[in-house]
């Protein structure tokens, strides 16, 4: 058994590799990259079920949560994710910082970088703020929500949750209901789901779901029954009461009557349809308590999966030099 054979070895098939330094949005991220994040998140979900919920992957790295907008759930989710990767976490909120004294965004970040941080997770009220920042700083930037633009990790955890519940994206009918025009969550979900071949139907009052959204390759209706008909996923967006003041709605009561998801209306959807919400819920507004607490509701799974998905994102970005 000593005869050697000479041959040219076949090049191995390249799995999608993560090469981005930043995660600013899903508009330019490919379907393969999205699938890679979801695959990686699966492994991280298992870590959170262990007795010792920690792996040393990001040991010694510093992750800064720079949140210029109030947020408990997203910030906590990133904090838990970073800590479970053994990273050190700094939480910086705008109100307690020198931003109040008038320090610019770039100066704030340059000051942080003088501490040699590795990853920057930022939420900001201005659309495009993380994109701007990524051009002016050295850290890896993760967008945790910028204005009305994108919230990429929310969409990724939404897709992860759908996939976990056995949904395949190709041809999946996803109804997104509510205040679409102001929703960065909706935009990121639209980018991601259309890339993976899902069929999206946006539904809400015409003031909140303008026709121009059809350019994203989605359908649009002002009738809830049409959106829910044979839907696989019913995604309720949070009604922001300030909209009523700005005359986007005649009244919250009318919204609830026309667009509130009730158990009766859910019968129009497929029997195995799931109900999703980015949180926090307004019970009795976007959806009834009965629906929110039903077996079809995966709202709490979304929260759990948020940690796994954010661990995957932090892990993948940290691996890019």
């Amino acid at each position: 058994m000593t005869r050697a054979t000479r041959s040219r070895p076949k090049a191995p098939q390249a799995a999608a590799k993560w090469t981005r330094r930043h995660l600013l949005g899903l508009e330019d991220v490919s379907a393969d990259e999205i699938r890679l994040v979801l695959e990686t998140a699966r492994s991280f979900k298992e870590v959170s079920t262990r007795e010792i919920k920690k792996v040393p992957a990001l040991r010694g790295k510093t992750v800064v949560n720079l949140f210029f907008e109030a947020s408990t759930r997203t910030r906590t989710s990133f904090e838990v994710a970073a800590k479970r990767l053994s990273a050190d976490v700094l939480n910086i909120g705008a109100s307690g910082s020198s931003v109040v004294k008038g320090e610019t965004l770039i100066d704030t970040v340059h000051t942080l970088e003088a501490y040699h941080i590795d990853l920057l997770v930022m939420r900001h009220a201005a659309s495009g703020a993380p994109h701007f920042l990524s051009r002016h700083c050295d850290s890896r930037v993760i967008n945790a929500g910028d204005g009305m633009h994108e919230h990429p990790t929310q969409a990724l955890l939404d897709l992860f949750t759908m996939s976990e519940r056995g949904k395949t994206f190709d041809g999946l009918k996803v109804a997104i209901i509510g205040d679409i025009i102001h929703s960065r969550v909706a935009r990121s979900d639209i980018f991601a789901l259309t890339k993976l071949g899902a069929r999206l139907v946006l539904c809400g009052p015409p003031t909140l779901v303008p026709k121009r959204f059809e350019a994203f390759g989605v359908e649009r209706t002002t009738r809830l029954e049409e959106a829910l008909d044979a839907a696989d996923v019913v995604y309720c967006l949070r009604m922001q009461f300030e909209r009523q003041q700005a005359n986007f709605l005649p009244s919250v009561g009318e919204y609830v009557r026309l667009f509130g998801v009730t158990a009766g209306r859910m019968k129009l959807a497929k029997p195995d349809a799931i109900v999703m919400h980015p949180g926090p819920l307004n019970r009795g507004i976007e959806l009834t308590s009965e629906v929110a607490d039903s077996a079809q509701s995966v709202v709490l799974d979304q929260v759990t999966n948020g940690v796994a998905v954010r661990m995957a994102v932090l892990f993948l970005l940290a691996g890019v030099n």
Binding site: S7, E39, S43, G319
Partner: protein, 187 residues
């Protein structure tokens, strides 16, 4: 690692029949070293250590009538080279299905080289519980240890040069059972 663009010589080391016999002999050795087979547990390192561990569990049953449980372990999160690689390696599943504490574990992997994978596996296992002892069984030991790690059960010792590569192919993963040595031209 191998540059697929240069010419490489493939030297066959083990064929399917030899692999079967070697694995069976390794199962005998494991049983020989383990007086209390009931507390034996196998841990296969992703990727190819996992099917090897499963085959070894079946072989142990053939030898002594008891089949040990098999866990799968992906050591990616415990690697010591995460900061210096270009991009993260692909992560596979980790699942034990049994409590490690108090058990006599045998880590099973295809090739033992620098020992860093096994170091990572030891750290990972310690995070899951406190085994009574841990042994190591590898199909191929190719030398060049960089850490003080050694195998308790070895299928075949293959002296290699640094630039060479040893590829284990298994039916469950690659469609064929064989082990080949890859030697770059001009090496």
């Amino acid at each position: 690692m191998n540059d697929p663009d240069t010419d490489t010589t493939h030297v066959p080391l083990i064929d399917a029949t030899q692999m079967y016999r070697t694995l069976m002999r390794m199962a005998h050795e494991i049983v020989e070293k383990q007086s209390d087979v009931a507390s034996l547990g196998l841990v296969g390192i992703q990727t190819r250590g996992v099917p090897l561990a499963r085959r070894t569990a079946a072989n142990v049953q053939a030898v002594c009538g008891l089949e040990p449980p098999v866990g799968e372990l992906d050591i990616t999160f415990y690697r010591d080279d995460l900061g210096v690689r270009h991009g993260q390696p692909e992560v596979k599943s980790t699942h034990f299905g049994f409590d490690l504490t108090g058990m006599d574990l045998v880590i099973v992997d295809d090739v033992l080289f620098t020992g860093r994978t096994i170091r990572a596996a030891l750290d990972a296992i310690m995070d899951f519980g406190r085994p009574r002892r841990i042994m190591l069984a590898v199909l191929i030991d190719r030398g060049h240890r960089e850490l003080p790690i050694r195998a308790d059960v070895v299928g075949k010792n293959v002296p290699t040069m640094r630039g060479e590569d040893v590829r284990v192919r298994l039916a469950e993963v690659d469609g064929v059972d064989e082990v080949v040595l890859l030697r770059p031209e001009g090496a």
